[in-house]
C-alpha cells in the first residue's frame, strides 16, 4: 500500500492500493480494543428451568486457573465492520482495469494553423486517436477548453468535425477543477502557444500532452474597432490591432475595404511578439473588412470583418408641425437622420399632431393642445432611467403644453410633482408621449433640448445612440502560434501507461452495510431467544 500522491506516479510505478485520506486508517487501532472488550467469551444462551437444583450435578466446571477463555466470536464481525468503515473513510483508490481518459482539446484559433498538410487541430486529433487505439477498452471523453462543461462525447469523425468547426470562437481556459476527477486520466491536445492553458487548478498537470506545433511564424489581426467621426457623422474612424504571434520580424500590408471597394492600405513591420495599431477613416458603410497580405499559415486571422450596422444613423419620420427646436435637435444628432413621413424604411417617427406616422413604427408623440404653463412641483425621473442618463432640468425654464394621464401599464419616465411629463405607453408598438413645450421661443434657447431628444429616442429605440463603438476582438494572444512553455512540459515525459484509479469507498460501504445487517440479524436472533424468558419477567 502506498499513500496517495496528487501527481501521477512516474513510469514504472505499480499502483496496488492508495488512499486519499490515510489518516482514517489510524482507526484500525480500535480492532485490538474491540477484541479486548469481547474477552469475556461468548454470550451463552439462557434456558429457563423449573428448579436449578435438579441440574446441579451437570454444572459445567469453571476454567482451570490460567486457562484463557476464547473471546466472543462476535468480535470478528464487529471488528470487520469497524475496519470496513475506517478503510472506506480513508477513500481507497484501486487501479481500474478499464482506463478512463478525458481528452482536453485546445480549440484556440492557433490550432487552425496549417502545418505541412493539415491544420494543427486535425493533426493533434489524429495523433490522439492513434494513441487511444493503443489503450484497450478505454473510456474516452472529449471536451474542449473553450467550452469545458460541454462533453463532445467519444472521439469520432463527427465529434472531430464539431470541434474543428467551433475552434477559435471562444477563448480557451484551463479545465475547471471540478472536471479534473482523479479517477480519470487527462490528456491535452494543444500547440502550446498559450501558456495559460497549462496552469491547471490545484497543481494538477495533464497526464499526457499531445503537442502539434511546427510553424512558428504568424501575423494576425487581433482586434478591429470603429466609431463615428466626431466631426463628420458620415465617416467612421477605425482602429486595427495587428499582432506578430511568431518568432521572427514580419512585414505585412494591411488593406481596408468596404462594400464600395478597397479604401486604403498601409505597410507594417512588426517585431516578434509585438503589436501595432493602425488608424483609418472610412465613409459610412454597412461593414468593413481588413486583410493582411501576404497570407500566412494561419489564414483565419489574416482577415477580419466588422459589422458597422450599430453605427448607422436611424431615420426618423417627422411631420410638418414639428417645432423647429425638435427638428434641429434631430438634424444635429449624429445617430439620427430626418426623413419624410412617406419614407418606407424609417425606424422611428416624430408625431407632432398630424398622426401621419405608420402605426407599426416606434413613435415619439409631442402633445401641445393648450397654452404653455409652468409645471408645479419638483422634477423627478423614473427609476427605470439610469442615474447616469438623467438630465438636470430647471423647472423654472420648463413649460408644458398638454395634460398627460398615465394609464395602467404605462411607465412615467419624467414627472413634475404629480404631473407626468414623459410617458412610455404600454402596447405592442413603442410609443412615448411628452407634454413638454418645444414650440415656444423660450424653449428653443434651452440647452438641454438635444439631450432630451437623445434620451427620448434612446428609450424609444432601446439602444444607446451616442458614442457607439463597433468592435470585433479575437482576444489577446489569438495570433500566437509559437509554442512556449508547453514544449518543455511535453518533453519532460508523462506516463503513458498509468491506469485510472477507481474510488472503492462505495464498495466498502456496501460491504460494511451488509456486515451491519448481519450484526443486526444476529442481535435480533439473540434477543428473540432470550425474550421468551427475560421478556416474561414481572
Amino acid at each position: 500500500m502506498a499513500a496517495h500522491a496528487a501527481s501521477p506516479s512516474g513510469p514504472g510505478t505499480i499502483h496496488l492500493l492508495s488512499f486519499a485520506a490515510p489518516i482514517w486508517l489510524s482507526g484500525l487501532l480500535l480492532l485490538p480494543v474491540i477484541r479486548w472488550l469481547h474477552r469475556g467469551g461468548r454470550q451463552r444462551r439462557a434456558i429457563p428451568v423449573s428448579r436449578l437444583e435438579l441440574w446441579q450435578r451437570s454444572a459445567a466446571s469453571s476454567p482451570a486457573a490460567g486457562e484463557r477463555r476464547p473471546p466472543d466470536p462476535a468480535w470478528r464481525r464487529r471488528a470487520l465492520l469497524t475496519a470496513l468503515l475506517f478503510v472506506a473513510l480513508s477513500d481507497p483508490q484501486l487501479p481500474e482495469q478499464r482506463t478512463r481518459i478525458t481528452l482536453w482539446i485546445d480549440d484556440s484559433l492557433s490550432m487552425l494553423t496549417r502545418e505541412a498538410h493539415r491544420t494543427r487541430m486535425v493533426e493533434g486529433l489524429a495523433q490522439a486517436r492513434s494513441l487511444l487505439a493503443g489503450v484497450p477498452d478505454a473510456d474516452v471523453e472529449v471536451r474542449t477548453l473553450g467550452d469545458p462543461w460541454h462533453s463532445v462525447g467519444a472521439l469520432t469523425d463527427a465529434s472531430v468535425e464539431t470541434i474543428v468547426a467551433g475552434a477559435g470562437r471562444k477563448p480557451p481556459t484551463a479545465p475547471p477543477v471540478a472536471l479534473l476527477r482523479g479517477e480519470r486520466l487527462h490528456w491535452l491536445v494543444t500547440d502550446g502557444a498559450h501558456a495559460a492553458l497549462f496552469e491547471w487548478p490545484g497543481d494538477r498537470r495533464p497526464d499526457r500532452i499531445i503537442q502539434v506545433a511546427g510553424v512558428t511564424r504568424n501575423v494576425g489581426l487581433e482586434r478591429l474597432s470603429a466609431r463615428r467621426n466626431l466631426n463628420d457623422p458620415e465617416r467612421y474612424d477605425l482602429l486595427l490591432k495587428v499582432t506578430n504571434g511568431g518568432t521572427a520580424v514580419e512585414t505585412r500590408v494591411v488593406a481596408f475595404a468596404t462594400d464600395a471597394g478597397e479604401i486604403g492600405s498601409s505597410t507594417l513591420r512588426i517585431e516578434a511578439g509585438a503589436s501595432a495599431l493602425v488608424n483609418a477613416a472610412i465613409p459610412a458603410s454597412p461593414r468593413v473588412r481588413a486583410t493582411l497580405q501576404p497570407a500566412d499559415a494561419l489564414a483565419e486571422d489574416d482577415e477580419i470583418v466588422l459589422d458597422l450596422q450599430p453605427l448607422r444613423r436611424r431615420r426618423v419620420a417627422t411631420d410638418s408641425k414639428c417645432p423647429a427646436a425638435l427638428m434641429a435637435a434631430i438634424r444635429t444628432h449624429p445617430a439620427l437622420a430626418v426623413a419624410k413621413q412617406s419614407t418606407p424604411d424609417v425606424e422611428a417617427a416624430l408625431d407632432c399632431g398630424t398622426h401621419g406616422a405608420a402605426s407599426d413604427v416606434a413613435t415619439l408623440r409631442v402633445l401641445a393642445d393648450r397654452l404653455p404653463t409652468r409645471p408645479r412641483g419638483s422634477v423627478q425621473w423614473s427609476a427605470t432611467v439610469p442615474a447616469s442618463r438623467r438630465i438636470g432640468l430647471d423647472p423654472e425654464g420648463m413649460q408644458i403644453a398638454a395634460r398627460l394621464r398615465a394609464r395602467p401599464g404605462d411607465d412615467v419616465l419624467l414627472a413634475a410633482g404629480a404631473e407626468p411629463l414623459i410617458i412610455r405607453r404600454a402596447g405592442p408598438v413603442k410609443t412615448l408621449e411628452t407634454s413638454l413645450d418645444f414650440g415656444s421661443e423660450e424653449s428653443t434657447r434651452r440647452p438641454e433640448i438635444p439631450l432630451l431628444v437623445n434620451l427620448m429616442f434612446e428609450q424609444l429605440l432601446d439602444d444607446r445612440l451616442l458614442d457607439e463603438i463597433a468592435i470585433a476582438d479575437r482576444g489577446a494572444g489569438s495570433a500566437m502560434v509559437a509554442p512556449g512553455r508547453a514544449g518543455a512540459i511535453a518533453d519532460s515525459g508523462r506516463p503513458s501507461d498509468s491506469r485510472a484509479l477507481r474510488n472503492s469507498a462505495r464498495l466498502l460501504l456496501v460491504a460494511a452495510l451488509l456486515v451491519l445487517l448481519w450484526e443486526m440479524i444476529a442481535l435480533g436472533r439473540q434477543w428473540y431467544r432470550s425474550s421468551d424468558f427475560a421478556g416474561a419477567r414481572p
Binding site: R42, R44, R45, A46, I47, P48, V49, S50, R51, L52, E53, L54, W55, Q56, R57, S58, A59, A60, S62, F533, A536, R537, P538
Partner: protein, 299 residues
Amino acid sequence: MATPALIRGVLPSESELQSFARAAAHLLTERLPHALGSRTVRRRAGVGIQHLDHRDYTAGDEVRHIDWRQTARRRRPIVRRFESESVSDWIILLDASSSMSVHGAAKWHAAVHMAAAMSYALLDHGHRVGLLAFGARVLAECPRGRGRHHYAAIAGQLAALQPARAGERSALGVCARLLHGAASVFTISDFLADDEMCSDLSALLQRCTALHALQVTDSAEMELREAGDFDLVDVETGARMQTRAGEHAETLAAAERAAMTDRLRGFCARSGIAFTDWDVTNPWQHTLLRHLVRAQSIC
C-alpha cells in the same frame, strides 16, 4: 353444572367432567347412611354434630369448639372434634408458581384440568369446595361454596389464572393460615421447592382433616433439546448456572427429580398424606381415580 363458554378451551369439557364425577361418586362419598350392609363405615373427623374425640387447640380453630372441661382438666386448650358428615368441606390448593409455567406451561394446564375435575366432582356430590392458588403468596382465593353456580366461580378463577413466567416462588405454607375449620385439602403442585415442601405439608396437616398431595411432573422439561454451553436460569429464583447441555446432563437431572419424588413420597407415607406422582403425559382421569382409591386406604 354447565361450563361457561369462554373457558371451555381451558378446562375439561362438560361430558368429561360428568363422566369423571360418576366414576368417582363412590370414592367421594365418605359415609353412606342407607347402605350399611356388610360395608364398614369408617368414622373420621370432619364437619358434623356427632362428637368424635378431642385434640389440642391450634390457631384458627373455632373458639366455640373448645371443650372447657377438658381444657381445665388438662390445663391446655382442647377442642372437640366431630364426626364427619357425608357432606364435607374441601379446599383445593393449586400451585401457580413460575415453575409451573416452564416448557409451555404443560404442568399448569394439567393442574388446572385436575383442579377443575376435582371441584366439579366434589360439588356434584354436595360437598363444599374452596380454591386457593398460591405462589410466594396467595394469588387467588375462591371461598368455599356449593352448587353449580360455585363451580362456575371456580372455573372462572381457574381460567383467569396464569402463573408468572418468572420470579414467582412456591410457598405452600402461606395457605395454612387461610384454612379454617375442618376441611379436606387437595394440593396440586410440582413440589419443586426446598425440602420438597415437606415442612409446609406438615403445617397443613395440622389444619385439615385429610391431606392429599398430587405431584405434577413433566418428563419433557428434563430435556433441554440443545447441545453446547448454556446458562440455566431458575425461573423462580433467577439464579444462573453454567452447564453443558446433553444427554448426560438430562439423565442426571431426571435422576435427581426421581430422588426428590421418592423423598416426598416417603414423607407422605409417614405422615398419612395421600400422595400421587402424575406425569402430565398420562390421562388425568385415570390418575385422579387411582389417587382417590389409594387415598381411601390412607386418609
